[in-house]
């Protein structure tokens, strides 16, 4: 009940009583009235409210190679819910309350409409689980200027560079961070010569670009760089095709695959001309979160998530969890719900988010990217955690992954 309602209630009580003409009763009512208002004011003052919107759009299942892993519709949402639960458990002790309102735009719905009508004037913090183009559109709306968008879906390096927006924080690692993590591991293993296989989608090309950048950065050699074509030629089978495709004159140590949707990457392992490991978007993968991860208390959140969701925690869930926890942590530490204060704290050196990956997580002040360790995982075992030991950095080794301050094309202050 809000203080105004209570106030009204007292007022209505008070009027009929007055006609009673008993001074004592009037006094009692007055006393009660002031007591209630008093208590209520204290209550209202001590409880800080933080309203967070979660915006996404309905999805249809994309074509996939294997039915082993069913399509998950609600990636992200349950992570945000778990984060809010945790925030509120803490909030009980700090007098803060976190509310999460979910907006799921239908397939044929208009995201900007929903945003303008229901979100931008009612919420200051918006968790956005949408592709890069929609995210940028929202970030550029006049009403968004003073809001904070928390991106839990994109990996685009452009959004962290020339396309960056200073009202957006990115929770998932960029493609460059993932590629660097893979490169560090390959360098450690002395897999210096790479055979790069690229799918035909735009995302695949972006991932391949990040791989090429990483190769240059770490002095690795791309021996072959080929595109995997999708044709409907009946003579092509994965057994014959992959062998022929990977049969080249130059020797290579490893096949690096760029196939974000998983349209052919799974075919590569065990079928290459020479026996070589597969790494990239299939085989050994670079990811923010994985079901095989148990260290640093991760087993606890894996269990808590599974109990709530009835499935494993996916990357977007982890990102949304971190988004709500980052807001929670900033609110607890600053004792404020003011967006300016929260944003300043989130981007300050003092900010340290516990993300179940050993190092405390924080945001890069030059592009709004969450700096974090990256898991290198095989389907059933965690192989390594990047930054790999030995890759050094003057400030934090986490910044050996992705675009470091001197390299950034982002003009964050603009």
């Amino acid at each position: 009940m809000n203080p105004l309602e209570l106030l009204n209630m007292n007022f209505y009580y008070y009027q009929p009583m007055r006609s009673n003409n008993s001074t004592l009763q009037v006094l009692v009512v007055f006393y009660l009235f002031f007591q209630l208002v008093n208590v209520n004011l204290v209550y209202a003052k001590s409880k800080q409210i933080i309203d967070i919107a979660y915006l996404t759009q309905e999805q249809i299942a994309p074509p996939q190679l294997s039915n082993a892993e069913p399509f998950i519709k609600n990636k992200g949402i349950i992570g945000a819910e778990l984060g809010i639960d945790d925030d509120n458990t803490t909030g009980e002790f700090t007098g803060q309350q976190f509310n999460l309102k979910k907006f799921i735009v239908p397939l044929d719905g208009n995201i900007t409409d929903t945003f303008n009508k229901a979100i931008s004037h009612h919420f200051q913090y918006v968790i956005v689980n949408l592709p890069a183009t929609q995210l940028t559109q929202l970030a550029d709306l006049p009403a968004t200027k003073d809001l904070l968008l928390l991106d839990v879906a994109t990996m685009d390096d452009a959004l962290r560079n020339e396309q960056c927006r200073n009202n957006v924080l990115h929770l998932l690692p960029s493609r460059a961070m993932r590629a660097d993590a893979l490169a560090q591991y390959m360098m450690k293993k002395r897999w210096d010569k790479w055979f790069l296989v690229v799918g035909s989608t735009q995302e695949d090309r972006l991932f391949a670009e990040a791989i090429r950048r990483a190769a240059k950065r770490f002095g690795m050699k791309i021996i072959a760089d080929k595109t995997w074509e999708h044709t409907f030629d009946a003579r092509r089978t994965e057994q014959s095709d992959v062998a022929v495709f990977t049969q080249i004159d130059d020797a290579y140590d490893v096949v690096v695959v760029a196939d974000e949707q998983g349209q052919f990457g799974e075919y590569l392992d065990y079928r290459t001309w020479n026996p070589r490991p597969v790494i990239g978007t299939q085989g050994l993968m670079a990811t923010a979160w994985h079901k095989t991860h148990e260290q640093w208390g991760a087993i606890q959140i894996q269990n808590r998530f599974k109990e709530k969701a009835g499935r494993w925690m996916e990357e977007q869930d982890y990102a949304a969890y971190l988004a709500t926890r980052a807001l929670g942590e900033a609110t607890t530490r600053t004792k404020s719900n003011d967006i300016k204060q929260l944003k300043a704290y989130i981007l300050s050196d003092a900010f340290a988010l516990q993300g179940y990956k050993g190092n405390p997580l924080s945001f890069r002040t030059w592009d709004g990217q969450l700096r974090q360790p990256i898991l290198l995982a095989a389907p059933k075992s965690l192989v390594a955690v990047a930054p790999i030991e030995g890759f050094l950095h003057p400030k934090t080794e986490l910044d050996t992954l992705g675009y470091d301050q001197p390299e950034t094309q982002c003009k964050w202050d603009k």
Binding site: T90, F93, T94, N303, R325, G358, N359
Partner: protein, 335 residues
């Protein structure tokens, strides 16, 4: 080749010397000090290791239940309490016969717990449920479940029995719980991922470790505020490997000891000046610590090197590493 041979000789000579000195030490000690027994829970062996630390020997290993972690001994030294996490219970074990004599209802997934000074009440952290469970040991009944922050872990009772402390890892708080009413009186916000908490013998200070900040915080019991934060640094070890966990303070209030987790070190902290005096190399991923009854030695459990380290506190040196089994977790000592 020659060099190698020489090294081997050196090593052999070394180990003979070490054995001899160990023997001499044992002989010298057995005359003056009573024998003591160290109990270590082995998380992945589902067992309890029984060690004679003066002889430097693993005496035996007994099965104790699924995933044993926290361990404590009753004030009269007759009963051991062992949290068998995957069985959702705390087992009561006769410290002489090592036979199970009972079970306590602990709530789900018990890991760490604390006994009150009298030894009649046991407090358990239930990490997944954000609860502290209060158990009457004699009645084997849950008295109360107290709602605390997310992922409570470190738990301890002040020696004067006024305060129960629960540290929640994700909420980043220390909860001050009145032991008479079992209600939270105050909360102190601390560095991220607080792990363990320990009072000084006079109950005036609470020492809390933060795994993520790599720090130790000293809190004043009266004001419940942090009076000092210490950040650990170890030469040649990156900051992210320094993850303080277990903390104990000697009865005299002279020194505190902090296990630094994957930094594989134990830090010695001056309890008066709060300066880090020395850092000792022990086994891998050192988590929990226990004093010998005379407080002349410290025993550490080293999770991933599968051993315990014995530290002589007078000379501040590690005198022995002793293999005990897979994933040693908790440790307690019987005089």
């Amino acid at each position: 080749m020659l060099l190698k041979k020489k090294n081997v000789d050196n090593l052999q000579a070394d180990s003979i010397l070490r054995k001899l000195s160990g023997l001499l030490l044992t002989l010298a000690l057995t005359g003056t000090v009573q024998a003591e027994t160290v109990f270590v829970t082995l998380e992945k062996d589902n067992a309890l290791a029984i060690v004679d630390p003066l002889a430097g020997k693993l005496l035996k290993t007994v099965a104790v239940g699924q995933r044993p972690r926290g361990i404590a001994i009753s004030p009269d030294n007759k009963l051991l309490y062992v949290a068998t996490s995957d069985e959702n219970t705390i087992k009561i074990i006769n410290a002489e016969t090592l036979k199970e004599v009972g079970k306590l209802p602990s709530g789900e997934d018990p890991e760490t717990f604390a006994l009150n000074p009298k030894g009649d009440i046991l407090y358990v952290s239930n990490e997944d449920d954000s609860l502290v469970t209060v158990i009457d040991i004699a009645k084997k009944k849950i008295i109360k479940q107290i709602k605390v922050g997310v992922e409570p872990e470190g738990i301890t009772v002040s020696p004067d029995n006024n305060w129960l402390i629960s540290a929640s890892e994700t909420t980043n708080m220390v909860h001050w719980i009145d032991t008479k009413t079992n209600t939270i009186i105050e909360n102190t916000l601390v560095d991220p991922r607080p792990r363990a908490a320990s009072f000084t013998a006079d109950s005036q200070q609470l020492w809390v470790t933060s795994e993520m900040a790599g720090s130790l915080m000293i809190l004043d019991t009266k004001t419940k505020q942090i009076i000092k934060t210490l950040k650990f640094e170890v030469q040649g070890v990156t900051a992210d490997k320094i993850q303080p966990v277990g903390v104990v303070i000697d009865k005299a209030g002279n020194k505190g000891y902090v296990a630094l987790g994957p930094a594989n070190r134990v830090a010695i902290v001056n309890a008066k000046t709060f300066a880090v005096e020395k850092v000792l190399l022990v086994g891998q991923r050192v988590w929990n610590l226990a004093f010998s009854p005379d407080q002349k030695r410290l025993y550490t459990t080293n999770g991933t090197s599968n051993d315990i380290s014995i530290i002589d506190l007078e000379s501040q040196t590690v005198t022995q590493s002793l293999g005990v089994g897979n994933y040693p977790w908790g440790v307690t000592v019987k005089p």
